[in-house]
Amino acid sequence: MAVAEPHVPTRAAGAAAEVEQGTSLWQDAWLRLRHNKLAMASLVAVLLILATCFVVPLFIDLDPNAQRLDNKFAGPSAEHWLGTDQLGRDLLHRIIEGGQISLLVAFFATFLTGIIGILYGGISGYVGGKLDSVMMRIVDGLLAMPFLIIVILFRELIKVPVEKLSDWLIADVGLSTDLVLRFGNIAPLIVAIAAFGWLTMARIVRTQSASLVELEYIEAARSLGIGHARILLRHILPNALGPIIIYATLTVPSFILYEATLSFLGLGIEPPHASWGSLIKEGANFLETRPALILIPGLVFSGTLFALNFLGDGLRDALDPKSSKD
């Protein structure tokens, strides 16, 4: 993607933040991102989608599962802006709920893969030697497996333990039923995706940490007697943050896609709840009679992926101008 960077002093990405001119790496990156129209438009789109899914429901009464059998397949109206589905459920409400689920799954899973990947990759690169090569062998082996197949099996495996945990949380801990069930529905998916999704993140962090650990300032830190954990978290991690953020941004759309694929196959979110994937699956059944039921969720879904991917590309160009393909 084209990056305009006329007034910005280009500096090697990943270099230490505070330099004489007083603009940090992040300010530089923000300036570059602002010149990238496509990325900015995507940022606005992503914020709008997030607001629609998570802020709007605070003000309106979201009722995605209310069936009105006398009002099936209705077209758009003042009451139902996007019409209704085969059971008379409001399509807009279902898309908003579906968005909450799809986005929550993707964000939580990305967050978890970030934590696992940072710890695993950070330690592997920092310690180096035998441990490093064993840890990376394991990653290589897991990466060679068909990802979605393991995720599917793993989700089936943890479904019942999660249900038991939910029951326990409701009965003995006394959490709100609604909250627990809502989260219990998506938790197996999040855990399954995260359990095998951290591999690439670990490799990226490992590369960073292995090269940073050679630098003088780390040696200096060590000679001052600073502990390993503190060096890793305070001195290595912040300098590896650029690639981590770039990869995490591009991970979100791919996890949205995984979730949707699983839900489409009936191996993800369970009815009556909807995610974008299961809405598209349901809509496909009424292709001939009501194409809107697949077209609208499909459009929202693809639009979100578009925006997130362009934003990720833009962030990469902004944080790491050297890697830009333009």
Binding site: A2, D140, G141, A144, M145, P146, F147, L148, I149, I150, I152, L153, F154, E156, L157, K159, V160, P253, L257, A260, T261, F264, L265, G266, L267, G277, I280, K281, G283, A284, L287, E288, P291, I294, G298, F301, S302, G303, L305, F306, N309, F310, K325, D326
Partner: protein, 307 residues
């Protein structure tokens, strides 16, 4: 080179063994069993059924017997959901279908993506570049399970010789292959464009230009070989994506391939079928990754020198 192949083979064997073992215990740990459906079955009949399939001993014994049958007799066991059929039979019947579909999708993806990406790089920042990159992004963001129904709705209904679903006429392969290949084409186009741009800025290309080599010869003879490297690297993941995509696409277009068997094997907890399919997919992936490594070494002299 030989060392690389042996290394990869050992790794593949370890990975596939681990994968199948994980599957073996995972499906048994999942509550419920393949013989229980809506109707309740009397306890003694259930026990007899399990004994008939060799599922009555403890899991470790079953595990040993399973691997002995697989390795010594090449027997992957009976299917528990498709009555009277063996896993080997199911795979040998459905794999050719999936293979044909997947290969055509791969050929379409590379055939469209490679020229598109190369063209985009040669006309950098021009209309062709922007148009093809937007098309490529669309191919990534519109997943096969949206594309499939769209093709059914707008292509199959308007063109006589394309069917909405099914696997009877030779032309029935076209729509599923297109739906499956679009994502691959999109990634290949993006990667080829990036690779091409990088190669075109190299010194040896400038030298060739300065010597007056015609532009077309530069691209075809000197640049293309290096420019396809990123796309070739992607072919391993592309293969995985096609396997995953086939789960969805075979369901949508009712193609009698392995993908839909995998989905039903999960939902019906068909132990042997699931283990067999996972093993087969694992071996396929390993073979694909190995071929990609060999192709890369063949294309890239630097890589060859290293290994």
């Amino acid at each position: 080179m030989l060392k690389l192949v042996i290394n990869r083979l050992v790794q593949a064997i370890v990975v596939v063994f681990a994968l199948v073992s994980f599957t073996f215990f995972a499906v048994r740990l999942i509550p419920g069993n393949p013989f229980v459906n809506e109707k309740a079955i009397p306890e003694h009949i259930l026990e007899q059924t399990q004994a008939a399939y060799g599922l009555d001993g403890n899991w470790i014994t079953q595990f040993g017997i399973y691997w002995k049958n697989v390795l010594v007799e090449g027997d992957l066991g009976p299917s528990l959901s498709l009555y009277g059929r063996t896993v080997t039979g199911i795979i040998s019947e459905s794999f050719p279908v999936s293979l044909m579909l997947g290969l055509l999708a791969l050929v379409m993806g590379v055939g469209v993506g490679l020229p598109l990406g190369a063209l985009a790089a040669l006309r950098r920042n021009g209309i062709i570049d922007y148009a093809s990159m937007i098309v490529a992004m669309a191919g990534i963001c519109v997943p096969s399970f949206v594309l499939g129904p769209l093709f059914q709705m707008y292509l199959a209904r308007n063109i006589d010789w394309l069917s909405v679903a099914g696997w009877e006429r030779p032309s029935d392969i076209i729509l599923p292959a297109m739906a499956l290949g679009t994502g691959v084409a999109a990634y290949v186009a993006r990667l080829t464009r990036g690779g091409m741009l990088e190669i075109l800025s190299q010194d040896y290309i400038r030298t060739a230009r300065a010597k007056g080599v015609p532009p077309l010869t530069i691209v075809v003879r000197h640049a293309l070989r290096g420019a396809v490297l990123p796309a070739v690297t992607y072919l391993g993941p592309a293969f995985a994506a096609i396997i995953t995509g086939s789960f969805v696409i075979e369901t949508i277009f009712q193609v009698p391939g392995m993908g839909q068997h995998f989905v039903t094997a999960v939902t019906s907890q068909d132990y042997f079928l699931l283990q067999g399919l996972v093993m087969f997919y694992g071996l396929l992936m390993a073979a694909a990754n190995l071929s990609v490594d060999i192709a890369l070494a063949a294309l890239n002299p630097r890589l060859r020198a290293k290994s």
